[in-house]
Protein backbone atom coordinates (compact mmCIF):
# COMPACT_ATOMS: atom_id res chain seq x y z
CA UNK A 1 0.00 0.00 0.00
CA UNK A 2 2.67 2.49 1.10
CA UNK A 3 6.35 1.83 0.50
CA UNK A 4 9.28 4.08 1.32
CA UNK A 5 12.49 3.20 -0.52
CA UNK A 6 15.72 4.68 0.84
CA UNK A 7 14.06 8.00 1.54
CA UNK A 8 16.17 10.89 2.83
CA UNK A 9 15.33 14.47 3.56
CA UNK A 10 17.98 17.10 4.06
CA UNK A 11 17.16 20.58 5.32
CA UNK A 12 19.53 23.50 5.07
CA UNK A 13 18.98 26.15 7.69
CA UNK A 14 21.41 29.03 8.14
CA UNK A 15 24.10 27.22 6.20
CA UNK A 16 23.78 24.15 8.41
CA UNK A 17 22.86 20.90 6.72
CA UNK A 18 20.48 18.81 8.78
CA UNK A 19 19.60 15.26 7.81
CA UNK A 20 16.04 15.08 9.09
CA UNK A 21 15.38 11.70 7.51
CA UNK A 22 18.29 9.43 6.69
CA UNK A 23 17.80 6.49 4.32
CA UNK A 24 14.47 5.25 5.65
CA UNK A 25 12.83 2.24 4.05
CA UNK A 26 9.58 0.84 5.31
CA UNK A 27 6.36 -0.69 4.19
CA UNK A 28 2.81 -0.24 5.41
CA UNK A 29 0.38 -2.95 4.35
CA UNK A 30 -3.27 -2.37 3.50
CA UNK A 31 -5.40 -2.08 6.64
CA UNK A 32 -2.35 -1.89 8.86
CA UNK A 33 -1.86 0.72 11.58
CA UNK A 34 1.82 1.58 11.77
CA UNK A 35 3.04 3.92 14.48
CA UNK A 36 6.11 6.06 13.83
CA UNK A 37 7.61 6.91 17.17
CA UNK A 38 10.73 8.57 18.46
CA UNK A 39 12.01 11.54 20.41
CA UNK A 40 11.49 15.01 18.94
CA UNK A 41 13.80 15.60 16.00
CA UNK A 42 13.85 11.91 15.12
CA UNK A 43 12.30 12.60 11.72
CA UNK A 44 9.01 10.80 12.31
CA UNK A 45 6.77 13.71 11.32
CA UNK A 46 8.88 14.60 8.30
CA UNK A 47 8.76 10.96 7.20
CA UNK A 48 4.97 11.02 7.42
CA UNK A 49 4.61 14.37 5.66
CA UNK A 50 6.56 13.09 2.68
CA UNK A 51 3.84 10.52 2.03
CA UNK A 52 1.28 13.20 1.10
CA UNK A 53 4.02 15.41 -0.30
CA UNK A 54 3.81 18.18 2.29
CA UNK A 55 7.56 17.61 2.28
CA UNK A 56 9.59 16.60 -0.75
CA UNK A 57 12.20 13.87 -0.27
CA UNK A 58 15.77 14.84 -1.13
CA UNK A 59 16.33 11.32 -2.41
CA UNK A 60 14.55 7.99 -2.53
CA UNK A 61 11.09 7.03 -3.65
CA UNK A 62 7.68 6.78 -2.02
CA UNK A 63 5.22 4.40 -3.63
CA UNK A 64 1.51 4.57 -2.87
CA UNK A 65 -0.68 1.93 -4.48
CA UNK A 66 2.10 0.99 -6.86
CA UNK A 67 2.72 4.56 -8.06
CA UNK A 68 5.53 6.96 -7.26
CA UNK A 69 3.91 9.90 -5.44
CA UNK A 70 6.25 12.38 -7.15
CA UNK A 71 4.64 11.46 -10.45
CA UNK A 72 1.07 11.83 -9.19
CA UNK A 73 -1.05 14.98 -9.22
CA UNK A 74 -0.44 16.39 -5.75
CA UNK A 75 -4.00 17.61 -5.19
CA UNK A 76 -5.53 14.29 -6.28
CA UNK A 77 -3.01 12.38 -4.14
CA UNK A 78 -3.88 14.37 -1.02
CA UNK A 79 -7.61 13.98 -1.51
CA UNK A 80 -7.12 10.22 -1.37
CA UNK A 81 -5.19 10.46 1.91
CA UNK A 82 -6.93 11.51 5.13
CA UNK A 83 -4.91 13.88 7.30
CA UNK A 84 -5.27 14.58 11.03
CA UNK A 85 -2.97 16.95 12.91
CA UNK A 86 -2.26 17.69 16.54
CA UNK A 87 -3.67 21.22 16.62
CA UNK A 88 -6.86 20.08 14.94
CA UNK A 89 -6.59 22.52 12.08
CA UNK A 90 -10.37 22.83 11.81
CA UNK A 91 -11.63 25.73 9.70
CA UNK A 92 -12.91 28.20 12.33
CA UNK A 93 -15.35 29.77 9.88
CA UNK A 94 -16.96 26.44 8.95
CA UNK A 95 -19.57 24.64 11.03
CA UNK A 96 -18.68 21.20 12.33
CA UNK A 97 -20.65 19.52 9.53
CA UNK A 98 -18.99 21.71 6.88
CA UNK A 99 -15.59 20.94 8.38
CA UNK A 100 -16.21 17.22 8.15
CA UNK A 101 -17.36 17.63 4.56
CA UNK A 102 -14.39 19.67 3.32
CA UNK A 103 -12.85 16.98 1.12
CA UNK A 104 -16.24 15.86 -0.29
CA UNK A 105 -16.78 19.53 -1.12
CA UNK A 106 -13.40 19.74 -2.86
CA UNK A 107 -14.39 16.60 -4.76
CA UNK A 108 -17.61 18.28 -5.88
CA UNK A 109 -20.15 16.09 -4.11
CA UNK A 110 -23.70 17.53 -4.10
CA UNK A 111 -24.68 19.38 -0.94
CA UNK A 112 -27.23 16.86 0.34
CA UNK A 113 -24.82 13.96 -0.01
CA UNK A 114 -22.10 15.93 1.79
CA UNK A 115 -24.40 16.68 4.68
CA UNK A 116 -25.53 13.07 4.95
CA UNK A 117 -21.92 11.86 4.94
CA UNK A 118 -20.98 14.41 7.61
CA UNK A 119 -23.82 13.16 9.82
CA UNK A 120 -22.72 9.53 9.39
CA UNK A 121 -19.18 10.39 10.39
CA UNK A 122 -20.15 12.52 13.38
CA UNK A 123 -22.14 9.52 14.53
CA UNK A 124 -19.09 7.29 14.00
CA UNK A 125 -16.82 9.49 16.12
CA UNK A 126 -19.38 9.79 18.90
CA UNK A 127 -20.65 13.34 18.36
CA UNK A 128 -24.46 13.29 18.00
CA UNK A 129 -25.03 15.23 14.74
CA UNK A 130 -28.22 16.94 15.87
CA UNK A 131 -26.22 18.49 18.71
CA UNK A 132 -22.94 19.20 16.98
CA UNK A 133 -23.42 19.59 13.21
CA UNK A 134 -24.17 23.31 13.26
CA UNK A 135 -21.74 24.39 15.95
CA UNK A 136 -18.49 26.19 15.24
CA UNK A 137 -15.11 24.73 16.26
CA UNK A 138 -14.54 27.37 18.95
CA UNK A 139 -17.67 26.08 20.70
CA UNK A 140 -16.08 22.63 21.13
CA UNK A 141 -13.66 21.22 23.68
CA UNK A 142 -10.20 20.11 22.54
CA UNK A 143 -11.23 16.47 22.58
CA UNK A 144 -14.36 17.16 20.56
CA UNK A 145 -12.31 19.11 18.02
CA UNK A 146 -9.99 16.13 17.58
CA UNK A 147 -12.99 13.88 17.01
CA UNK A 148 -14.14 16.26 14.29
CA UNK A 149 -10.60 16.11 12.88
CA UNK A 150 -10.78 12.33 12.69
CA UNK A 151 -14.25 12.46 11.12
CA UNK A 152 -12.97 14.96 8.56
CA UNK A 153 -10.08 12.72 7.61
CA UNK A 154 -12.45 9.82 6.95
CA UNK A 155 -15.12 11.83 5.11
CA UNK A 156 -14.25 10.91 1.53
CA UNK A 157 -13.48 7.33 2.60
CA UNK A 158 -9.77 7.53 1.73
CA UNK A 159 -7.88 4.22 1.80
CA UNK A 160 -5.00 5.85 3.68
CA UNK A 161 -5.02 8.12 6.75
CA UNK A 162 -2.04 10.03 8.14
CA UNK A 163 -2.26 11.08 11.78
CA UNK A 164 0.31 13.48 13.22
CA UNK A 165 0.15 13.27 17.03
CA UNK A 166 -3.63 13.61 16.80
CA UNK A 167 -4.22 13.25 20.54
CA UNK A 168 -1.07 15.03 21.72
CA UNK A 169 -2.79 18.23 22.81
CA UNK A 170 -5.66 16.83 24.87
CA UNK A 171 -5.72 15.91 28.56
CA UNK A 172 -4.71 12.35 29.56
CA UNK A 173 -8.24 11.14 30.33
CA UNK A 174 -9.66 12.39 27.04
CA UNK A 175 -6.60 10.98 25.27
CA UNK A 176 -7.27 7.48 26.64
CA UNK A 177 -10.87 7.78 25.51
CA UNK A 178 -9.91 8.93 22.02
CA UNK A 179 -7.37 6.13 21.69
CA UNK A 180 -10.00 3.52 22.53
CA UNK A 181 -12.40 5.17 20.09
CA UNK A 182 -9.79 5.08 17.36
CA UNK A 183 -9.31 1.36 17.92
CA UNK A 184 -13.04 0.81 17.65
CA UNK A 185 -13.27 2.99 14.52
CA UNK A 186 -10.27 1.25 12.96
CA UNK A 187 -11.87 -2.16 13.58
CA UNK A 188 -14.88 -0.86 11.64
CA UNK A 189 -13.21 0.95 8.77
CA UNK A 190 -9.84 -0.86 8.44
CA UNK A 191 -7.83 1.99 6.95
CA UNK A 192 -4.15 1.96 6.21
CA UNK A 193 -2.96 4.31 8.95
CA UNK A 194 0.39 5.95 9.58
CA UNK A 195 0.29 7.37 13.10
CA UNK A 196 2.99 9.62 14.52
CA UNK A 197 3.42 9.93 18.28
CA UNK A 198 6.06 10.30 20.95
CA UNK A 199 3.90 8.54 23.56
CA UNK A 200 5.10 4.94 23.85
CA UNK A 201 1.96 3.85 25.71
CA UNK A 202 -0.16 5.15 22.84
CA UNK A 203 2.02 3.27 20.37
CA UNK A 204 1.57 -0.04 22.20
CA UNK A 205 -2.15 0.50 22.52
CA UNK A 206 -2.78 1.28 18.86
CA UNK A 207 -0.06 -0.18 16.69
CA UNK A 208 -0.07 -3.27 14.55
CA UNK A 209 3.57 -2.39 14.04
CA UNK A 210 5.87 0.13 15.66
CA UNK A 211 8.66 1.88 13.79
CA UNK A 212 11.03 3.44 16.31
CA UNK A 213 13.12 6.26 14.89
CA UNK A 214 16.09 8.21 16.14
CA UNK A 215 18.09 10.94 14.39
CA UNK A 216 16.36 10.33 11.11
CA UNK A 217 16.94 6.59 11.03
CA UNK A 218 14.78 3.56 11.75
CA UNK A 219 16.14 1.89 14.87
CA UNK A 220 13.63 -0.94 14.99
CA UNK A 221 10.58 -1.93 12.96
CA UNK A 222 8.62 -4.61 14.81
CA UNK A 223 5.31 -5.68 16.27
CA UNK A 224 4.65 -4.31 19.77
CA UNK A 225 5.29 -7.71 21.31
CA UNK A 226 8.57 -8.17 19.47
CA UNK A 227 9.72 -4.69 20.34
CA UNK A 228 9.15 -5.54 23.99
CA UNK A 229 10.66 -8.99 23.97
CA UNK A 230 13.49 -8.41 21.53
CA UNK A 231 14.59 -4.77 21.68
CA UNK A 232 17.24 -4.17 19.01
CA UNK A 233 19.58 -2.18 21.22
CA UNK A 234 20.00 -0.15 24.37
CA UNK A 235 18.26 2.87 22.82
CA UNK A 236 15.09 0.85 22.30
CA UNK A 237 15.20 -0.51 25.83
CA UNK A 238 15.68 2.97 27.20
CA UNK A 239 12.95 4.44 25.05
CA UNK A 240 10.44 1.83 26.13
CA UNK A 241 11.31 2.68 29.70
CA UNK A 242 11.36 0.96 33.06
CA UNK A 243 7.91 -0.54 32.88
CA UNK A 244 8.89 -2.66 29.90
CA UNK A 245 8.20 -5.87 31.80
CA UNK A 246 4.69 -4.78 32.67
CA UNK A 247 4.04 -3.58 29.14
CA UNK A 248 5.27 -6.89 27.80
CA UNK A 249 2.76 -8.69 29.98
CA UNK A 250 0.05 -6.36 28.69
CA UNK A 251 0.87 -6.55 25.01
CA UNK A 252 2.17 -10.07 24.46
CA UNK A 253 -0.69 -12.27 23.44
CA UNK A 254 -1.16 -15.82 24.59
CA UNK A 255 -1.30 -17.21 21.04
CA UNK A 256 2.20 -15.87 20.41
CA UNK A 257 3.55 -18.08 23.20
CA UNK A 258 1.50 -21.26 23.04
CA UNK A 259 3.08 -24.46 21.75
CA UNK A 260 1.27 -26.55 19.16
CA UNK A 261 -1.81 -28.48 20.23
CA UNK A 262 -1.03 -32.13 21.01
CA UNK A 263 -2.11 -34.16 18.01
CA UNK A 264 -5.09 -36.44 18.33
CA UNK A 265 -6.25 -35.12 21.65
CA UNK A 266 -9.54 -33.36 22.07
CA UNK A 267 -9.51 -30.38 24.41
CA UNK A 268 -10.65 -31.07 27.90
CA UNK A 269 -10.26 -28.88 30.92
CA UNK A 270 -9.25 -25.24 30.69
CA UNK A 271 -9.44 -23.36 27.36
CA UNK A 272 -8.29 -19.73 27.12
CA UNK A 273 -8.69 -17.40 24.10
CA UNK A 274 -5.38 -16.72 22.34
CA UNK A 275 -6.16 -13.02 22.06
CA UNK A 276 -5.74 -12.59 25.83
CA UNK A 277 -2.63 -10.79 26.97
CA UNK A 278 -0.22 -12.81 29.09
CA UNK A 279 -1.28 -10.70 32.05
CA UNK A 280 -4.96 -11.43 31.48
CA UNK A 281 -4.18 -15.13 30.97
CA UNK A 282 -2.31 -15.27 34.27
CA UNK A 283 -5.37 -13.83 36.01
CA UNK A 284 -7.65 -16.34 34.31
CA UNK A 285 -5.46 -19.31 35.13
CA UNK A 286 -5.63 -18.39 38.79
CA UNK A 287 -9.39 -18.82 38.72
CA UNK A 288 -9.25 -22.52 37.87
CA UNK A 289 -8.38 -23.84 41.29
CA UNK A 290 -9.59 -27.38 40.76
CA UNK A 291 -8.47 -27.78 37.18
CA UNK A 292 -7.19 -31.22 36.28
CA UNK A 293 -4.38 -31.81 33.83
CA UNK A 294 -0.94 -30.21 33.60
CA UNK A 295 -1.91 -27.22 31.46
CA UNK A 296 -4.52 -25.41 29.37
CA UNK A 297 -5.64 -25.09 25.77
CA UNK A 298 -5.37 -21.91 23.74
CA UNK A 299 -8.11 -21.11 21.22
CA UNK A 300 -8.23 -18.81 18.18
CA UNK A 301 -10.75 -16.04 17.49
CA UNK A 302 -13.34 -18.59 16.36
CA UNK A 303 -12.93 -20.58 19.59
CA UNK A 304 -11.06 -23.49 17.97
CA UNK A 305 -8.30 -24.98 20.15
CA UNK A 306 -5.02 -24.32 18.36
CA UNK A 307 -2.37 -24.58 21.05
CA UNK A 308 -1.47 -25.99 24.41
CA UNK A 309 0.65 -24.76 27.30
CA UNK A 310 1.59 -26.62 30.46
CA UNK A 311 1.43 -24.55 33.62
CA UNK A 312 5.15 -25.04 33.98
CA UNK A 313 5.80 -23.69 30.47
CA UNK A 314 3.46 -20.78 31.14
CA UNK A 315 5.28 -19.79 34.30
CA UNK A 316 8.60 -19.95 32.48
CA UNK A 317 7.22 -17.81 29.64
CA UNK A 318 5.86 -15.31 32.15
CA UNK A 319 9.36 -14.92 33.47
CA UNK A 320 10.81 -14.59 29.98
CA UNK A 321 8.23 -11.98 29.06
CA UNK A 322 8.97 -9.84 32.08
CA UNK A 323 12.75 -10.06 31.76
CA UNK A 324 13.60 -10.90 28.16
CA UNK A 325 17.28 -9.99 28.40
CA UNK A 326 17.89 -13.10 30.54
CA UNK A 327 16.72 -15.30 27.71
CA UNK A 328 18.89 -13.89 24.97
CA UNK A 329 20.02 -16.55 22.57
CA UNK A 330 17.01 -18.70 23.30
CA UNK A 331 14.21 -18.63 20.78
CA UNK A 332 10.84 -18.07 22.42
CA UNK A 333 8.11 -20.60 21.79
CA UNK A 334 6.62 -19.97 18.39
CA UNK A 335 3.20 -18.62 17.73
CA UNK A 336 0.57 -20.96 16.53
CA UNK A 337 -1.14 -19.43 13.58
CA UNK A 338 -4.84 -19.19 13.94
Amino acid sequence: MIRLEHVSKVFTSRGQVVKAVDDVSLEVGAGELVVLIGPSGSGKTTTMRMINRLEVPTSGRIIVDGRDVQEMDVVALRRRIGYVIQQGGLFPHFTVADNVAVVPRLLGWPRAKRRQRAYELLELVGLPPDQFADRYPRQLSGGQQQRVGVARALAADPPIVLMDEPFGAVDPITRKQLQRELRRIQSEVRKTIVFVTHDIGEAFLLADRIVLMSEGRVVQDATPADLLRRPADAFVTEFIGEDRGLRALQYTRLEELAGPAPAGQSPNGVVLPGALSVLEAAREVGKFENATGDGFWVSDDAGRPVGYLTYLQFVALLGETIAPEDTSGKEPAHAVSA
Binding site: N52, L54, V74, V75, A76, L77, R78, R79, I81, Y83, I85, Q86, Q87, G88, G89, L90, F91, P92, H93, F94, T95, V102, V103, L106, Y136, P137, R138, G149, R152, L162
Partner: protein, 221 residues
Protein backbone atom coordinates in the same frame (compact mmCIF):
# COMPACT_ATOMS: atom_id res chain seq x y z
CA UNK B 1 -23.33 84.50 23.43
CA UNK B 2 -22.88 86.22 20.11
CA UNK B 3 -20.26 83.70 18.99
CA UNK B 4 -22.49 80.73 19.85
CA UNK B 5 -25.36 82.33 18.01
CA UNK B 6 -23.12 82.80 15.03
CA UNK B 7 -21.87 79.25 15.34
CA UNK B 8 -25.37 77.78 15.20
CA UNK B 9 -25.98 79.88 12.12
CA UNK B 10 -24.26 77.14 10.10
CA UNK B 11 -27.62 75.34 10.02
CA UNK B 12 -29.21 78.44 8.59
CA UNK B 13 -26.40 78.62 6.03
CA UNK B 14 -26.98 75.00 4.97
CA UNK B 15 -30.74 75.64 4.69
CA UNK B 16 -30.26 78.69 2.56
CA UNK B 17 -27.67 77.03 0.33
CA UNK B 18 -29.19 73.59 0.21
CA UNK B 19 -28.34 72.90 -3.41
CA UNK B 20 -24.66 73.76 -3.13
CA UNK B 21 -24.35 71.88 0.17
CA UNK B 22 -25.94 68.74 -1.27
CA UNK B 23 -23.65 68.88 -4.30
CA UNK B 24 -20.53 69.20 -2.12
CA UNK B 25 -21.73 66.44 0.22
CA UNK B 26 -22.25 64.08 -2.72
CA UNK B 27 -18.83 64.99 -4.11
CA UNK B 28 -17.32 64.25 -0.73
CA UNK B 29 -19.02 60.87 -0.54
CA UNK B 30 -17.97 60.06 -4.09
CA UNK B 31 -14.35 60.94 -3.37
CA UNK B 32 -14.39 58.73 -0.29
CA UNK B 33 -16.23 55.73 -1.68
CA UNK B 34 -14.44 55.64 -5.03
CA UNK B 35 -10.97 56.05 -3.59
CA UNK B 36 -11.54 53.36 -0.95
CA UNK B 37 -12.96 51.00 -3.58
CA UNK B 38 -10.00 51.68 -5.87
CA UNK B 39 -7.65 51.15 -2.95
CA UNK B 40 -9.26 47.78 -2.18
CA UNK B 41 -8.94 46.74 -5.82
CA UNK B 42 -5.24 47.66 -5.77
CA UNK B 43 -4.27 46.64 -2.23
CA UNK B 44 -5.92 43.22 -1.89
CA UNK B 45 -4.40 41.64 -5.01
CA UNK B 46 -1.01 43.16 -4.14
CA UNK B 47 -1.26 41.75 -0.60
CA UNK B 48 -2.14 38.31 -1.97
CA UNK B 49 0.83 38.56 -4.31
CA UNK B 50 3.10 39.59 -1.43
CA UNK B 51 1.87 36.66 0.66
CA UNK B 52 2.73 34.30 -2.22
CA UNK B 53 6.04 35.80 -3.39
CA UNK B 54 8.16 36.33 -0.31
CA UNK B 55 10.59 38.54 -2.23
CA UNK B 56 7.93 41.12 -3.04
CA UNK B 57 6.61 41.50 0.49
CA UNK B 58 9.28 43.90 1.77
CA UNK B 59 9.45 46.23 -1.28
CA UNK B 60 5.66 46.45 -1.48
CA UNK B 61 5.40 47.26 2.21
CA UNK B 62 8.03 49.98 1.85
CA UNK B 63 6.24 51.43 -1.14
CA UNK B 64 3.01 51.54 0.82
CA UNK B 65 4.77 53.04 3.82
CA UNK B 66 6.19 55.80 1.63
CA UNK B 67 2.67 56.54 0.38
CA UNK B 68 1.60 56.79 3.99
CA UNK B 69 4.53 58.94 5.17
CA UNK B 70 4.38 61.70 2.57
CA UNK B 71 2.08 64.43 3.91
CA UNK B 72 -1.32 64.43 2.26
CA UNK B 73 -0.89 67.96 1.01
CA UNK B 74 2.37 66.98 -0.66
CA UNK B 75 0.64 64.11 -2.44
CA UNK B 76 -2.05 66.50 -3.58
CA UNK B 77 0.61 68.89 -4.83
CA UNK B 78 2.34 66.04 -6.68
CA UNK B 79 -0.85 64.81 -8.35
CA UNK B 80 -1.64 68.39 -9.21
CA UNK B 81 1.60 68.61 -11.15
CA UNK B 82 0.83 65.31 -12.86
CA UNK B 83 -2.93 65.33 -13.50
CA UNK B 84 -3.84 68.98 -13.09
CA UNK B 85 -6.69 70.14 -10.90
CA UNK B 86 -10.14 68.75 -10.24
CA UNK B 87 -11.82 65.53 -9.15
CA UNK B 88 -9.49 62.97 -10.78
CA UNK B 89 -6.19 64.04 -9.22
CA UNK B 90 -7.95 64.26 -5.86
CA UNK B 91 -9.22 60.73 -6.32
CA UNK B 92 -5.72 59.50 -7.18
CA UNK B 93 -4.19 61.22 -4.15
CA UNK B 94 -6.78 59.82 -1.75
CA UNK B 95 -6.42 56.34 -3.24
CA UNK B 96 -2.66 56.40 -2.69
CA UNK B 97 -3.25 57.20 0.97
CA UNK B 98 -5.90 54.51 1.40
CA UNK B 99 -3.87 51.67 -0.14
CA UNK B 100 -1.44 51.10 2.72
CA UNK B 101 -3.82 50.32 5.60
CA UNK B 102 -5.74 47.91 3.41
CA UNK B 103 -2.59 46.33 1.94
CA UNK B 104 -0.92 45.90 5.32
CA UNK B 105 -4.00 44.47 7.01
CA UNK B 106 -4.68 42.02 4.18
CA UNK B 107 -1.05 40.89 4.11
CA UNK B 108 -0.83 40.53 7.88
CA UNK B 109 -4.22 38.83 7.96
CA UNK B 110 -3.08 36.20 5.47
CA UNK B 111 0.35 35.74 7.02
CA UNK B 112 -1.00 35.44 10.54
CA UNK B 113 -3.75 33.01 9.58
CA UNK B 114 -3.52 29.95 11.82
CA UNK B 115 -0.72 27.80 10.35
CA UNK B 116 -2.33 24.57 11.46
CA UNK B 117 -5.49 25.43 9.52
CA UNK B 118 -3.46 26.16 6.39
CA UNK B 119 -1.44 22.97 6.87
CA UNK B 120 -4.60 20.89 7.26
CA UNK B 121 -6.16 22.54 4.21
CA UNK B 122 -3.10 21.82 2.07
CA UNK B 123 -2.88 18.28 3.41
CA UNK B 124 -6.48 17.66 2.41
CA UNK B 125 -5.78 18.64 -1.17
CA UNK B 126 -6.91 22.23 -1.70
CA UNK B 127 -5.64 23.80 -4.91
CA UNK B 128 -3.98 27.23 -4.73
CA UNK B 129 -7.17 29.14 -5.51
CA UNK B 130 -9.25 26.99 -3.15
CA UNK B 131 -6.77 27.58 -0.34
CA UNK B 132 -7.00 31.34 -0.94
CA UNK B 133 -10.76 31.71 -1.24
CA UNK B 134 -11.89 28.90 1.06
CA UNK B 135 -9.39 29.44 3.87
CA UNK B 136 -6.89 32.29 3.71
CA UNK B 137 -9.14 35.21 2.75
CA UNK B 138 -11.96 34.19 5.14
CA UNK B 139 -9.42 33.84 7.95
CA UNK B 140 -7.90 37.22 7.05
CA UNK B 141 -11.29 38.89 6.64
CA UNK B 142 -11.65 40.37 10.16
CA UNK B 143 -8.26 42.10 9.88
CA UNK B 144 -8.80 42.98 6.22
CA UNK B 145 -12.13 44.54 7.04
CA UNK B 146 -10.61 46.52 9.90
CA UNK B 147 -8.14 47.90 7.34
CA UNK B 148 -10.98 49.04 5.09
CA UNK B 149 -12.68 50.64 8.08
CA UNK B 150 -9.51 52.56 9.00
CA UNK B 151 -8.96 53.62 5.40
CA UNK B 152 -12.54 54.84 5.02
CA UNK B 153 -12.61 56.95 8.17
CA UNK B 154 -9.22 58.39 7.29
CA UNK B 155 -10.34 59.19 3.75
CA UNK B 156 -13.47 61.00 4.92
CA UNK B 157 -11.18 63.40 6.78
CA UNK B 158 -8.51 63.69 4.10
CA UNK B 159 -11.08 64.32 1.37
CA UNK B 160 -11.53 67.84 2.78
CA UNK B 161 -8.06 68.61 1.40
CA UNK B 162 -9.28 67.91 -2.14
CA UNK B 163 -10.70 71.42 -2.07
CA UNK B 164 -7.15 72.77 -2.37
CA UNK B 165 -6.82 71.35 -5.88
CA UNK B 166 -10.37 71.94 -6.98
CA UNK B 167 -11.55 68.45 -6.17
CA UNK B 168 -14.69 69.70 -4.45
CA UNK B 169 -16.27 68.14 -1.42
CA UNK B 170 -17.11 69.67 1.93
CA UNK B 171 -13.55 71.04 2.14
CA UNK B 172 -14.74 73.80 -0.17
CA UNK B 173 -16.90 75.22 2.61
CA UNK B 174 -14.07 74.96 5.14
CA UNK B 175 -11.64 76.78 2.85
CA UNK B 176 -14.22 79.41 2.03
CA UNK B 177 -15.09 79.88 5.69
CA UNK B 178 -11.40 80.23 6.59
CA UNK B 179 -10.75 82.70 3.80
CA UNK B 180 -13.73 84.85 4.74
CA UNK B 181 -13.33 84.30 8.50
CA UNK B 182 -16.96 83.25 8.38
CA UNK B 183 -17.72 80.72 11.11
CA UNK B 184 -21.12 79.57 9.88
CA UNK B 185 -19.68 78.62 6.46
CA UNK B 186 -16.60 77.00 8.05
CA UNK B 187 -18.78 74.92 10.36
CA UNK B 188 -21.21 74.04 7.57
CA UNK B 189 -18.24 72.13 6.14
CA UNK B 190 -16.46 70.91 9.26
CA UNK B 191 -19.36 69.57 11.30
CA UNK B 192 -20.85 67.41 8.52
CA UNK B 193 -17.36 65.99 7.82
CA UNK B 194 -17.00 65.02 11.48
CA UNK B 195 -20.47 63.46 11.48
CA UNK B 196 -19.67 61.66 8.24
CA UNK B 197 -16.56 60.10 9.77
CA UNK B 198 -18.54 58.86 12.76
CA UNK B 199 -21.31 57.58 10.49
CA UNK B 200 -18.77 55.70 8.34
CA UNK B 201 -17.28 54.06 11.42
CA UNK B 202 -20.70 52.96 12.68
CA UNK B 203 -21.95 51.84 9.27
CA UNK B 204 -18.89 49.70 8.63
CA UNK B 205 -19.05 48.35 12.15
CA UNK B 206 -22.56 47.14 11.37
CA UNK B 207 -21.53 45.82 7.98
CA UNK B 208 -18.77 43.83 9.66
CA UNK B 209 -21.32 41.54 11.24
CA UNK B 210 -22.67 40.71 7.80
CA UNK B 211 -19.33 40.30 6.07
CA UNK B 212 -17.24 38.38 8.61
CA UNK B 213 -18.02 34.63 8.74
CA UNK B 214 -19.98 33.62 11.82
CA UNK B 215 -17.28 31.36 13.28
CA UNK B 216 -14.83 34.29 13.35
CA UNK B 217 -17.13 36.93 14.83
CA UNK B 218 -15.50 37.12 18.24
CA UNK B 219 -11.98 37.52 16.87
CA UNK B 220 -10.27 40.54 15.34
CA UNK B 221 -11.08 44.11 16.22
Amino acid sequence: MRVRGEALDFITYIRENRERFTELLIQHLELTVYSVLLAVLIAVPLAILASRVELLAKPLTWLGAIGQTIPSLAILALTLGWLGIGFRPSLVALTIRAVLPIFLNTYVGIRNADRSVIDAARGMGTSGAQLLFLVELPLASPVLFAGIQTATVQTVGLATLAAYIGGGGLGDLILQGLAMVDYPILLAGAIPVALLAIAAELLLGGLRRLVIPAGLQTEGR
